[in-house]
């Protein structure tokens, strides 16, 4: 087996890259949520001064990337790769932003798991010695996602109580071969899991088994217990998915009750903001990680974090054709100190 592999799905980075800086840029609704103080920018205009939702989303990516780079103190020309992806067809938000930014660009797609996917690949590139600085980013926009996956905005329809609200926002992280942490230490890459859910409104239930599969693989292959982490967060399972995940984990003999949360449950106040089950979209886990969680790590309030972004790999076409929803989850372990013997 390759030297740095711990198991079928997990790797351990021998030169753990440092999260040099992070930035989260969000829309107005997210800015009214409980995490508002942790975001770098709250854009009051969800059009971001553009004339289409797609261009607006791209602008969110551009802004998050620029802010993360400027916070890192590294010049934009010193960034070796930009790894980004989003929910729009052919990941246009990311590639259009990359057109402006002129950083060597690798587009990635993992639906709402894209933040963890880009961090995973970015870390491997740095650990492999192919880059010193990599920027990882992703985004989503409520209005561009609605028009692609669901109904026109002005259509008078009711959402089911288990529906989720796509986050408008983007998050970006600058990874570096040098720096004082927080470090990315281990990565568990998910398999595509499908338990047969077909209702595209029921994302939490569809994605929960993927999160459980990746979490069980992570704990088994690293030999770590759930208690090793101060906090384990999943991406956008929201209230219903979170409950299902906890119960499925219990079946696997893992108790995460004390240190588990979900970004979809953190970003909105579901009661006050009428977001039903909670947040979703690539921007959900990206803005919570690069806004709130990065802050907690930097201030030492979190020392060991397991970030598990979850994605539903459906397309409007597959949903219309009656296919079930394949899902994925990637886990990234982030630690402020490298206490373990490397």
């Amino acid at each position: 087996m390759a030297q740095k592999r711990l198991g079928k799905q997990t790797i351990k980075l021998s030169n753990p890259p440092s999260m040099l800086s992070a930035a989260a840029v969000v829309g107005p609704k997210e800015g009214e949520g409980p995490l508002s103080q942790y975001f770098d920018m709250i854009q009051k205009d969800d059009y971001f001064g553009q004339d289409s939702w797609e261009k607006a989303e791209s602008k969110f990516v551009e802004e998050a990337v620029k802010r993360a780079i400027s916070k890192s103190g590294v010049s934009i020309t010193a960034i070796d790769y930009m790894l980004a992806g989003d929910l729009l067809n052919q990941i246009i938000s990311s590639s259009f932003a990359a057109r402006t930014l002129q950083i060597p660009f690798l587009g990635v797609y993992g639906a709402c798991s894209t933040m963890a996917e880009s961090l995973s690949i970015g870390s491997m590139i740095i650990d492999g010695g192919y880059a010193d600085h990599v920027i990882c980013a992703t985004s989503s926009h409520f209005s561009s996602a609605e028009r692609q996956y669901r109904f026109p905005l002005e259509q008078g329809v009711q959402r089911p109580p288990f529906a989720q609200w796509t986050v408008t926002g983007s998050g970006a992280t600058v990874l570096s071969s040098t720096g004082n942490g927080p470090y990315i230490t281990c990565i568990t890459t998910g398999k595509v899991i499908d338990f047969g859910i077909k209702d595209a409104n029921n994302m939490g239930a569809a994605m929960a088994p993927a999160a459980v599969d990746t979490l069980t693989a992570h704990f088994k292959e690293t030999g770590r217990a759930p208690g090793y982490y101060d906090l384990i967060v999943t991406g956008d399972l929201a209230t219903i998915g979170k409950e299902i995940t906890l119960e499925l984990l219990q079946k696997e003999g893992l108790d995460l009750k004390n240190n588990y949360n979900d970004c979809g449950c953190m970003i909105f106040d579901n009661e006050k903001q009428d977001t039903h089950s909670g947040g979703s979209g690539c921007g959900c886990s990206a803005s919570v990680l690069n806004g709130y969680l990065y802050n907690m790590l930097k201030h030492g309030e979190l020392k060991r974090l397991l970030f598990v972004a979850t994605g539903a790999l459906l397309s409007p076409t597959s949903a219309w054709q009656g296919e079930s929803i394949p899902c994925i989850a990637h886990a990234v372990a982030i630690e402020t100190t490298l206490s373990e013997v490397q």
Partner: protein
């Protein structure tokens, strides 16, 4: 992961974790709002009758005005808020049909008047028209064959 579940087993497993839609309160809201929209229609009908139009003209006039109102409040960005509250109460009346045509026309205006507005205007209403017209043709044939 050790847990293996068939789609049916998983469906059963998550069933009691899913929040139940509030059927009774939804039905009451739909009844009230749907009823009020029909009241508006009846008011227009009476008004047109009072102006001396015959039955056929009154029916056509009422439909035209109700469709306009549905489109107008969609354009003002109010119909989706009503729909969120009333559900079927504002979807079933003719104003809801109007909303289902105007909302995609507004949404896809950015793609231009041919590939946007023109092509997408009937994405939601299209199936209603296709099966509505098909059914009416079918009923017409049956009527022609057996009743004339």
């Amino acid at each position: 992961m050790k847990t293996k579940m068939s789609p049916n087993e998983y469906e059963k497993f998550i069933k009691d974790k899913m929040p139940k839609p509030k059927l009774l309160s939804n039905a009451i809201k739909a009844f009230i709002v749907g009823g009020l929209i029909c009241d508006v229609g009846q008011f227009i009908t009476n008004w047109l009758k009072g102006m001396g139009l015959n039955q056929e003209q009154v029916s056509a006039g009422t439909a035209i005005i109700m469709v306009f109102l549905g489109a107008f409040f969609t354009g003002l960005g109010l119909y989706d808020k009503l729909g969120k509250f009333a559900g079927a109460g504002s979807i079933v009346p003719i104003t809801g049909f109007s909303n289902s045509i105007v909302s995609p026309a507004m949404e896809f205006k950015r793609e231009g008047f041919v590939f946007g507005v023109g092509a997408r205007m009937f994405v939601i209403a299209g199936p209603v028209l296709v099966y509505g017209i098909s059914t009416s043709v079918l009923v017409g044939i049956i009527y022609f064959l057996f009743f004339i």
